[in-house]
């Protein structure tokens, strides 16, 4: 009786997984279908319909997607670089040094984890405005650069490094920063990769905050550009919109397919910690 139950369970799980997978795929398949076929085939699923890249050409001429792509690229790179530097230094401080108020500071860091960034929208806007960074890529990135999640992850990773390695490095004459760079950072490589993937995918897909902060083509990231493009004023031409969507999601999709294993491993890694 028990083995029968196990077998049934496995079958049900497999069916469930497949259903979820198909459910997830349907929008992507639809968008590809619509993007590569002329407008009249958007809802007419004729297998022998002619393929075309006309939608892409039109999308590109209607809105400066390459510029948007570059903006997004600069944005995620800038945020990631700043996060690596700031979170590494902060995590190192928390792990290796004892100072007055350390626990309170760390509690504040953890507090940030509990706050949804959207609730701070107005306050952040005010601060960015007073800094004179409205409608700049830096302005989009600043609220995210000191990431509590990053600090937390790196602190956990740094804590697993045995004290003996630090002591050996000290005896060899390495300075504190040297120890950070030569011992802690190399040994935390998987965490950096995992965090990098999380950060890039989060900020690539971010919409609300960039929408609020940016107002010109020079700074608008892909998400905002696409939304504006798809807005009713320009008319709802699904095939062109789908073409634009494919263009904007393709880079991340390709990256995910190429780095699937690292993605999954990195999330598992985070789970273990």
């Amino acid at each position: 009786m028990r083995s029968w139950d196990n077998g049934t369970q496995k079958t049900l799980e497999t069916i469930g997984a497949w259903m979820l997978g198909i459910l997830w795929l349907i929008p992507i398949v639809f968008s590809f279908w619509s993007a590569f076929h002329p407008a009249k085939f958007t809802t007419n699923f004729d297998l022998f319909a002619p393929l075309t890249i006309e939608n892409f050409i039109r999308a590109l001429s209607c809105a400066p997607f390459p510029r948007y792509l570059m903006n997004t690229f600069i944005l995620v790179t800038l945020i990631l670089a700043a996060q690596f530097v700031l979170c590494t230094l902060a995590a190192y401080g928390f792990v290796r040094f004892d100072f007055f108020g350390k626990d309170i500071l760390f509690a504040l860091v953890l507090l940030q984890l509990m706050i949804m960034p959207e609730t701070l929208l107005v306050e952040n806007y005010r601060i960015i405005k007073s800094l004179g960074l409205l409608d700049t890529i830096t302005g989009i990135g600043i609220p995210y650069m000191a990431s509590a999640f990053g600090i937390f992850l790196l602190r956990q990773s740094f804590k697993t490094i045995p004290k003996e390695l630090v002591e050996a490095a000290q005896i060899e004459g390495v300075s504190s920063l040297g120890i950070l760079w030569k011992v802690y950072v190399p040994l935390s490589k998987p965490i950096y990769i995992a965090y990098g993937l999380v950060s890039v995918s989060y900020h690539w897909n971010e919409f609300l905050w960039p929408l609020v902060i940016t107002s010109s083509v020079n700074t608008r990231p892909l998400t905002v550009g696409l939304a504006i493009f798809a807005a009713p004023e320009t008319g709802v031409d699904w095939s062109v919109i789908m073409a634009a969507t494919v263009m904007t999601t393709a880079p991340l999709l390709v990256a995910f397919i190429l780095f699937q294993r690292q993605f999954v491993q990195s999330f598992m890694h985070l789970g273990i910690k």
């Binding site: 045995p162 003996e164 390695l165 002591e167 050996a168 490095a169 000290q170 005896i171 060899e172 004459g173 390495v174 300075s175 040297g178 030569k182 011992v183 190399p186 040994l187 490589k189």
Partner: protein, 346 residues
């Protein structure tokens, strides 16, 4: 010349006194063993010398200079850790050169020292491997290599052999000792294994609960242990510490001074100094026989007390046999029962 001096060093962690008034000197070119059971403070002493901890009070001098509050990097010492502390992300070669690169030693000098160390330790085939792909003994050698290339005249070792199997330990013991002598290094060697201390060290400091029990050569500790603790710690199997009850006194009172009582005295005699006798001596019953090949350890009982002796090779005795044990007067060690200290005696 005294290369390392500790003066009245105390170390207190919260309420716990780890080291109490530790005073000693280590001479140049000497291998000094810090010996003692787990938790006695020997590793703490080593770490204070290294600069990884600072003493609560007292001073530490290296080559005449007060280094008590100096960071490890400035003390010009090298250290080998119990778990080797090799950097897992670096190859053997990079591990060895780690310190030299950090101190910006010129490349030609680096290469020379590396070749020298690799030669001495037989590491030439392992240079591109990472520590995860090395055996315990190989990792040990890499850790030694890292210490050697630093070319500091002082080397600190924290139980470097305790993670190796018995055979490898013996080989590495000899290798480390010969290396120390060849390179004329001043070495402070922490261990809980009295065999290591006895075979390797020029002088041994026996530590118990943060206090120095005895400081002397291996011979001093073996022949004239200052306390019951020292007597039992050195020598394997450990010295028998007996209470001078009626049985014992009947057989040996002629060898002992007057006024010996079970409340205030203890008699010590090493198992290897006991012989089976035909006539005089103490009557015992055999309880255990352990055959080791070269020796046999015989555990006996008389009254409430147990006594162990060793005989050479095998013999025809059985458990339950009654035999008579005897020993010479100068093999008797007399201790005060309350303080554990050795008494001036025979």
């Amino acid at each position: 010349m005294d290369v390392i001096t500790l003066k009245d060093v105390d170390k207190i962690w919260g309420n716990f006194q780890a080291l109490n008034h530790v005073n000693f000197q280590c001479k140049e070119g000497q291998l000094l063993a810090l010996l003692g059971p787990s938790g006695c403070g020997k590793s703490t002493t080593l770490r204070l010398i290294a600069g990884l901890e600072t003493p609560t009070s007292g001073t530490i001098e290296i080559k005449g200079k007060d280094v008590t509050f100096l960071p490890p990097a400035k003390r010009n010492i090298s250290m080998v850790f119990q778990n080797y502390a090799l950097f897992p992300h670096l190859t053997v070669k990079e591990n060895i050169l780690f310190g030299l690169k950090a101190r910006k030693v010129p490349v030609t000098e680096r290469r020379k020292r590396l070749a020298n160390a690799v030669d001495l330790l037989g590491l030439s085939t392992l240079l591109d491997r990472k520590p995860a792909h090395l055996s315990g003994g190989q990792r040990q050698r890499v850790a030694l290599g890292r210490a050697i290339v630093a070319q500091s005249s002082i080397c600190l070792m924290d139980e470097p052999l305790s993670n190796l199997d018995a055979k490898l330990r013996q080989e590495m013991r000899q290798e480390i000792r010969s290396l120390q002598q060849r390179l004329d290094m001043t070495m402070i060697y922490v261990t809980h294994d009295q065999v290591e201390a006895m075979t390797m060290a020029d002088e041994i400091i026996l530590i118990k609960d943060g206090n120095i029990e005895q400081h002397g050569t291996a011979e001093d500790l073996y022949n004239r242990p200052e306390t019951i603790f020292a007597a039992k710690f050195i020598g394997s199997p450990p010295m028998n510490i007996l209470s001078p009850d009626a049985n014992l006194m009947k057989a040996f009172s002629s060898m002992l001074p007057d006024g010996i009582t079970p409340e205030s005295h203890r008699i010590g005699v090493r198992p290897e100094d006991i012989q089976i006798s035909e006539n005089r001596g103490i009557n015992v019953e055999i309880e255990t026989i352990e055959y080791l090949g070269a020796d046999t350890m015989i555990g006996c009982r008389f009254g409430e007390q147990r006594i162990t002796m060793t005989v050479k090779g095998k013999n025809r005795l059985h458990i339950g046999d009654h035999i008579t044990l005897d020993w010479k007067p100068d093999h008797i060690h007399l201790f005060d029962a309350q303080s554990g200290r050795r008494l001036k005696n025979i």
